[in-house]
């Protein structure tokens, strides 16, 4: 469970006059649940990339529980992300040819972190997301099932923060609702800070707080009713 603090963060891309994202101040408490909305091009994806350490801002500090990830080298950020961040993306990014369980374990295996404990946790997570056949190949799954595998993968190494980028956008309404529910439940059970970037009102309205981005700035910041 990690608290997040952004200060004076700005990032520009070459050829664009305006910064794509500029946030003077944002804090999310440990275990907080933040929804990020906005039109496409508003800077949502850049926000995910910055707070997950995939990208470094031009200026400013991004602190997760005191660790300013903007000061880490690329390899150190990879390591930090592997240990602290669970990512769920719109396109699942599962690897064809591998079984569900192997997909869940793949990043941990590549990082040489797949201990026996991690493996048994992978099985447990698969059953918690409602998948009974860990050896099933991911190509044979429905999109909803695939995203559940991705959720299990994100939670494998007990991340302090779970970041979901449009987790329901490529799913039908029913599957999307199930995955949204799973994210909320599991983040709560695991005690992870949750950041969800989404257009999906039914998902975002269930989080504690919602910010709206436009042209790289926070234009609205709404506290929602606590639902858990």
């Amino acid at each position: 469970m990690l608290p997040l603090a952004l200060s004076d963060v700005a990032i520009s891309f070459p050829g664009l006059a305006q910064p794509v994202l500029s946030i003077d101040h944002l804090e999310v408490p440990a275990g907080g649940r933040l929804a990020v909305t906005g039109a496409s091009g508003s800077g949502k994806s850049t926000f995910v990339n910055l707070v997950s350490g995939l990208e470094r801002p031009d200026t400013g500090a991004i602190r997760w529980d005191g660790t300013d990830i903007t000061t880490l080298s690329e390899s150190r950020r990879d390591l930090w992300r592997a240990q602290n961040v669970g990512l769920v993306m719109q396109d699942f990014h599962l690897f064809p040819g591998l079984a569900a369980i192997d997909n869940v374990l793949l990043p941990a295996r590549l990082a040489r972190a797949a201990t026996a404990e991690v493996k048994s946790r992978a099985h447990e997570l698969l059953s918690r997301v409602g998948l009974a056949r860990p050896e099933q190949s991911v190509e044979t799954m429905s999109r909803g099932e695939m995203q559940r595998v991705a959720v299990a993968r994100a939670l494998l190494r007990r991340p302090g923060v779970l970041i979901a980028d449009e987790p329901t956008a490529s799913l039908d309404a029913e599957a999307g609702a199930e995955v949204g529910q799973l994210l909320l439940e599991l983040a709560n059970q695991e005690g992870a800070t949750l950041i969800v970037v989404s257009h999906d009102e039914r998902l975002t309205e269930r989080l504690d707080r919602r910010i709206r981005l436009a042209d790289g700035h926070i234009v609205a910041d709404t506290a929602m009713r606590a639902s858990s």
């Binding site: 995939l54 990208e55 990879d78 990512l87 990014h93 690897f95 990043p107």
Partner: protein, 424 residues
Amino acid sequence: MIRFVLADLRRLWAASLVIVLLVALATALGVAVTLQERALRLGSARAADKFDLIVGAPGSETQLVLSSVFLQPAALPLMPGEVLTKLIADPRVAWAAPIGFGDNFQGYPIVGTTTALISGTTTGFSQGQMFAREGEAMVGSGVDLPIGAEVKPMHGAAGEGGETHAESIYHVVGKLQPTGTAWDRAVLVPIQAVWHIHGLGEDHDHEEAGHDEHEAADHEDEAGEEHHHGHIDADAPLDEDFDHEVPGLPAVLVKPKTIADAYALRQAYRTGEGTRAVFPAEVLTGLYATLGDARAVLMYVAYGAQTLVAAALMLIAVIHVAQRRKQIGALRAFGAPRLAVFGIVWLELLLLVAIGVGAGFGLGYGAAEFLAGLFTAQSGVHMPVEFTKSDAALAATFLAVAALMAALPAALAYRQSPVEALRG
């Protein structure tokens, strides 16, 4: 990581197979050339091993060796028979034996010689015994004739309008153990029989008569002079006393007592009148130089093919990495270390090349073995197709180059920004 690589290769099995085949064929080309050339060298050197010094009439040294060691049919000039008499009497000579050829039977060359040569160049009999009478013959291990078979010598090759020596028949009395030389395909008969068939020897009226393969073709012109056919006296005892009135001979194999004697003898008969003395090993060395040039050309062709395949592989690998940038970016995003990404791409390529190189060595060996088999069937010379340490070095070099080259696409994957990959 291995599991991921294997799953990936399994998924892309068709493309993987094509890559493996490309590498295998390019490798096999070089391996087959190397092995084949080595086999030819080793095989011919071993075939000539027992042939220390050959004395013949002046002419092509190469032809003298090819005809006497490898029994290649050719027109050899004759030298006077006294040369043999002198050689046998020479104290520097352990033994000397005439080699007379020209006839054949069912494609097997018939070679007239003596018991001294057979004892000196072979390891013994697998069946039967040495010829003891003029009408008896022995066959090499590669001759498909049983003991007791009849051999009707034919003068000249059948395809060239050769003729049989009517009424002259040898009976096979012995079969020799394999020697791995061209002589395995020969029918060995007493030299006196060859002389008698051609009307030489006792009636010694034609010292010039050829044991000439092409004589049949010249038949019309020189029939009167050359063809004075006699018959063998099948039951006549073996006469290996060559101290008088020996007919002309194409070649004499000489076994010197010492190496110094060998050089002295060569010197004596090289400068002697009407003779030429050669070390087959030395003539072969000259041939190997030519062979080496041919090998070099073929190897350049093989290197060219390998370079093309390597370039094609690089292209495929770089395109492949570009196509999979999303996947690679995702791996990084989910926490795979950059080195792991590098390792996956590197290992995947290296594995394919390693399988290809392995298969290529197998394929090259098979091809060389096949060609050697054909050659052995035709000539009788055993061709040992074998790997040496230098081949292991070659394989290691291939893999090292592959490891270096695979590092390029792997580095591309390593350097790729996960954000850009996921965005694209």
